[in-house]
């Protein structure tokens, strides 16, 4: 490997760049200062968390105390009772809706049977009969009278 100082001399001599006076003497101090700053920030943030831990624990206890004072056990019991009632009502309503759904399902099943019957009758008709039914010239009054009779 070449002598490091030879390389540095070559680098400065050829490029035409220069630095402010005493730059290389002062840069070490600047870098060290920035490193200390970074370390202090790191330690600072860690120590803040450490310092805040007991304060946060105390605050949590205090909040718990307030909650217990404001909402004593009897109120909590009452709330639980109300909840139980609401739950019961809900269960009754749910049972009612379940019955409704069952009824609707039965109706749907019956309808399915009806649709199947119609489809079966339509298939059993002969093509000629169907055509003759369609071609016959029936006026609207006759159709209405027929429907009213049925």
């Amino acid at each position: 490997m070449k002598d490091i100082h030879d390389i540095q001399r070559k680098m400065q001599a050829d490029s035409g760049f220069k630095t402010p006076d005493n730059y290389f003497e002062s840069i070490e101090g600047e870098i060290e200062a920035r490193i200390q700053e970074c370390d202090a920030q790191k330690n600072g943030s860690l120590s803040i968390v450490r310092a805040l831990k007991p304060v946060l624990a105390l605050a949590a206890c205090f909040l718990l105390g307030i909650v217990l004072f404001k909402y004593p056990a009897s109120l909590i019991d009452k709330y639980a009772q109300n909840n139980a009632e609401q739950e019961l009502n809900y269960m009754i309503e749910e049972a009612y809706f379940e019955d409704e759904i069952k009824l609707l399902s039965l109706f749907a099943l019956q309808n399915e049977q009806f649709v199947e019957e119609v489809a079966f009758n339509a298939n059993s008709l002969k093509e000629d009969e169907l055509l003759s039914t369609v071609i016959v010239d029936i006026n609207d009054v006759e159709i209405l009278a027929h429907l009213l009779d049925n």
């Binding site: 070559k10 400065q12 035409g16 402010p20 490193i35």
Partner: protein, 186 residues
């Protein structure tokens, strides 16, 4: 040199000697890294910022340095990455990602830089270098000014020697053309 570096690394990893070892590291490498960075970012103030960031990264990462490469290779790699990311950030922040505008700005800064006292030929050479793509510029600087071996460059830039040779060849060709067009060389 290598033994000295090993000893330096051990001291850097030892909490009780870390600060003194870091001072030694600074005095050993500050100039080399500064000139390496300066040639990439051109302006002294920018080079100063990038150099400081490089050493802060070194300080923060020294405990994780696995010694798979030489210390100076590792330092050069950090300095190179810092310089390239600085230029990339500058390009995105001030020139909306345009390479041409960044190059023009580097050239203009060079002309008005109070810390550049090169003659006309040196100014033209720096202008020609500034016009190269960042990676070609890096390769050209490392070879031409620092006389670095391709093997060392390959370790720092984590690329093949063949690719570096090709890159240097293209860079030299472009610079020669620029100098000829500007009547600097015949």
């Amino acid at each position: 040199m290598e033994n000295n570096n090993k000893e330096l690394i051990q001291r850097l990893k030892d909490e009780s000697q870390k600060h003194q070892a870091f001072r030694d590291l600074l005095s050993l490498y500050k100039k080399r890294l500064y000139w390496h960075i300066r040639r990439m970012v051109i302006c002294h103030e920018d080079a100063d910022d990038v150099l400081q960031n490089t050493f802060i990264k070194v300080w923060n990462a020294i405990d994780t340095f696995r010694e798979e490469s030489n210390l100076y290779t590792w330092l050069y790699r950090i300095a190179t990455n810092e310089s390239l990311s600085f230029l990339e950030q500058k390009k995105r922040k001030w020139f909306s990602g345009d390479d041409g505008e960044l190059t023009d700005s580097l050239v203009q800064n060079l002309q008005s830089d109070s810390f550049f006292d090169g003659d006309e030929v040196q100014l033209k050479l720096q202008k020609a270098i500034a016009k190269l793509p960042a990676k070609q510029r890096l390769v050209f600087n490392m070879k031409y000014f620092e006389d670095m071996k391709y093997q060392e460059m390959a370790q720092i830039l984590e690329t093949s020697e063949g690719a570096l040779k090709a890159s240097y060849h293209h860079a030299t060709k472009k610079i020669t053309e620029y100098m000829q067009n500007n009547n600097i060389v015949d």
